[in-house]
């Protein structure tokens, strides 16, 4: 790993750590949220940006992590640490099953199959209302959200926990895409037939990408529930499958740092424009169209094309 790659990504973490001491309360809270959602986008990026598989159902993994954590925590009282692990395992198991079935398809069919699986997960959450409380969701008490003795409802701890998870996801994927297996994923994205001809097991690599992507997304879902105290079915709805696609496209698909800036940009675009007009989604839509027209590779992608060709 080159020094400048380390410096860039480490620098981002250092800046985020510095912002912890500098930001006013509102933006401090926002950035904690952005970092958790950026983990979700990073997970999505592993599959879409690096493997070239466009999923329209990633909300199911986010929700699997969230409910896999929240339900045992709330009903079984297993503690936040074990609950977080349960969230990860739930998302990983779901990703494995979905991957085994959905990867029998490709292209548009893969998009549709993932969308349908996600709808099935959403409806399952609604139908299991006895435990999930359907659309209303479940509130996690502050006392339940204590992680290795740390009160995750405390703003400082929440921010630092979000930063720790974000740093972990960021460096994990940075490491992954620079491994031989990670380069195979990129080869699959560029030309899977050629990768197959070179002797790589395409299916196993794609399956691994689905599981890794789903698990990271699930980690984000579990963390979101723990940090903000709510587990709800809306997070399994279709728009939460579209969001990571937008974030990654905006930030730069196939870049490690891009998803974070995609989430940050979109978050503040909505937050600021909603203060100007109730038609804020129109402003968001126009901004997205303009970005797609003039920076089709996203923010970080454009940066890589113009100035920083070494950007991973």
């Amino acid at each position: 790993m080159t020094a400048r790659v380390l410096a860039l990504h480490g620098g981002l973490i250092a800046v985020l750590l510095a912002l912890h001491f500098l930001l006013p309360a509102y933006h401090h809270g926002n950035l904690a949220r952005v970092m958790v959602l950026a983990c979700y986008a990073i997970g999505y990026n592993v599959l879409f940006g690096y493997t070239g598989l466009l999923s329209l159902g990633h909300a199911m993994f986010f929700a699997a992590g969230m409910y896999g954590m929240g339900l045992p925590l709330h009903f079984l009282g297993i503690g936040a640490e074990l609950a977080f692990l349960a969230g990860l395992l739930s998302a990983a198991a779901l990703a494995l099953v979905v991957g085994l079935l959905a990867l029998r398809t490709a292209g548009v069919a893969f998009m549709i199959v993932t969308l349908m699986f996600s709808e099935a997960v959403y409806l399952t959450i609604l139908l299991a209302g006895k435990w999930t409380r359907g659309d209303e969701g479940v509130v996690l008490e502050r006392a339940e959200r204590v992680f290795f003795g740390l009160d995750l409802s405390d703003p400082d701890i929440r921010y630092l926990a979000a930063l720790a998870l974000f740093a972990l996801c960021l460096f994990l994927t940075l490491w992954l895409v620079r491994q031989p297996a990670g380069r195979v994923l990129i080869a699959i994205r560029e030309n899977d037939e050629r990768a197959r001809l070179l002797g790589y097991d395409i299916f196993r690599h794609k399956l691994a990408a689905v599981v890794i992507s789903g698990t990271i997304s699930g980690a984000a879902g579990a963390a979101y529930g723990l940090l903000f105290g709510y587990v709800g079915a809306t997070f399994a709805e279709v728009q939460y499958s579209i969001f990571p696609l937008l974030w990654v496209l905006l930030g730069g698909a196939g870049t490690i740092i891009g998803p974070f800036f995609g989430v940050l940009f979109m978050f503040y675009l909505i937050d600021l424009s909603s203060g100007i007009t109730s038609a804020y989604m129109l402003i968001a839509g126009i901004a997205l169209v303009l970005l797609t027209l003039f920076a089709p590779q996203g923010l970080a992608g454009e940066l890589r094309r113009r100035r920083m060709r070494w950007l991973p």
């Binding site: 509102y26 609604l126 659309d135 209303e136 996690l140 109730s278």
Partner: protein, 433 residues
């Protein structure tokens, strides 16, 4: 106490010291209006009420009318001198009827807008997603949701519902009328998610307590667009159909139910939630003629209309049919939006009782509201007299049962407040802040 001094004659030839003193005095006098303005601003700064509005998303029809009600009530409060001598300022943020955005909006109220309270949330899932953050930020959070989430103990000490009754109370108050007037054997048709499940569970229990029985429960998946396959499942011995369908499919639901039953149908009882903001003269709703509805507040002005209802309609701009005075096609969400009006007046009463001066007094405000017990039928509470349970943070009030006749809803029964009582499920006053 202000000390006054009688001015004395100074030296004719002032010394340098006295000249400086005079200049300093003049400078102080010049700046006095600035001090006065600042001091005044400290006490006359607006009370900032963060209004969490469903401006977009599935709740937008409700949000539009919640907003109009809120603005009207705030205007009247300001015209009457504000709260503790301070004007009320409504800070509106759209939550998109989404719990994630709802929580962000609550954070924005507390940490960016420096609101004194958060207020006005309707949809239960948005309340559930937002309330934890309100609790953590110690922001008094006054919801207008009719969900049972507050009184069930799922939320926190900072969340209060003092302006609208909850679904459990509403359903319990309806059961005696259904059992005694319409029939003992009921088939329920409800959406298969939390709102529908609340109706299913609470009404089944209430019917049993009133000598009736729910003989079939038809849960409709939320994605359903056609209902014909469900109607054959309605048992033949059904005497009453109870429906609480919501969302855009309600018109299809009614039309298909009409086609299924034709002229020989059982008695039908529904919650007006299905048809809030919908013109009852809409094509396809003819089948509902002669059926009964729960209303939180009577949409159509009744022959015994109170002066308070007149005052309320006039302030918001609502005609005798429950539509906007500017556009008769713009039908209000009359059965729910009074909750905003009444909640704002509870906030006012609470702040006055607590001597509320600023965010440092937020805890005092909650304690003051918890100490309240009743509000009479009045301009401040035009829906009816209320009893407030400070332990459960939930208000109780009358309910209205109306019959659809000639395209308008006529109230046939007003249930007493006590009909909606149930044992306390929580005592928030024992919880820490």
């Amino acid at each position: 106490m202000t000390e006054t001094k009688t001015p004395s004659a100074g030296p004719a030839d002032p010394s340098r010291r006295s000249a400086i003193a005079t200049l300093a005095g003049a400078a102080a006098a010049t700046s006095l209006p600035l001090w006065a303005r600042y001091t005044h601003a400290q006490t006359a700064a607006p009370i900032r009420i963060g209004f969490q509005m469903h401006a977009t998303g599935i709740g937008s029809a409700y949000g539009r009318w919640y907003d109009r009600t809120t603005q009207a009530a705030a205007r009247l409060i300001n015209e009457a001198g504000g709260i503790n001598g301070r004007p009320v300022e409504i800070i509106t943020e759209d939550d998109g009827t989404d719990p994630k955005r709802g929580a962000e909006v609550v954070e924005k109220f507390a940490t960016q807008h420096n609101c004194d309270v958060g207020y006005g949330t309707l949809f239960s899932h948005v309340v559930m997603g937002s309330a934890p953050r309100a609790g953590e930020l110690q922001l008094p959070y006054f919801v207008v949701s009719e969900g049972h989430h507050v009184a069930s103990g799922k939320l926190n000490r900072w969340t209060v519902q003092p302006g609208i009754t909850d679904v459990k109370s509403q359903v319990m108050a309806m059961a005696p009328f259904v059992a005694e007037t319409l029939g003992k054997k009921v088939t329920m048709i409800f959406p298969d998610y939390a709102f529908g499940h609340d109706h299913r569970d609470f009404f089944t229990e209430a019917m049993a307590a009133n000598g009736g029985e729910v003989i079939a429960k038809l849960a409709i998946p939320p994605t359903e667009t056609s209902f014909t396959k469900y109607f054959p499942k309605i048992p033949r011995e059904t005497e009453v159909i109870y429906h609480v369908m919501v969302g855009p499919a309600v018109l299809t639901f009614v039309k298909e139910m009409g086609e299924f039953f034709g002229p020989s149908r059982p008695a039908i009882f529904g919650f007006i939630d299905s048809l809030e903001a919908v013109d009852l003269a809409s094509p396809g709703l003819e089948f509902l003629e002669g059926t009964y509805f729960w209303e939180g507040m009577a949409r159509y002005a009744q022959p015994d209309q109170t002066e308070f209802d007149r005052h309320y309609r006039a302030a918001i701009g609502i005609d005798q049919n429950g539509a906007s005075t500017r556009d008769p096609k713009d039908v209000s969400t009359y059965a729910h939006m009074f909750g905003c009006w009444e909640t704002l007046y509870v906030i006012k009463a609470g702040m006055e009782a607590a001597g509320y001066a600023g965010p440092a007094d937020r805890q005092k405000l909650i304690e003051a509201v918890e100490a309240m017990t009743e509000w009479p039928l009045s301009n401040e509470h035009p829906q009816g007299a209320k009893l407030f349970n400070g332990k459960t943070h939930q208000v109780f009030g009358p309910q209205y049962i109306s019959k659809l006749e000639g395209g308008r809803l006529n109230v046939v029964q007003t249930t007493p407040i006590e009909a909606g009582f149930y044992p306390d499920e929580v005592d928030y006053t024992t919880r820490s802040f």
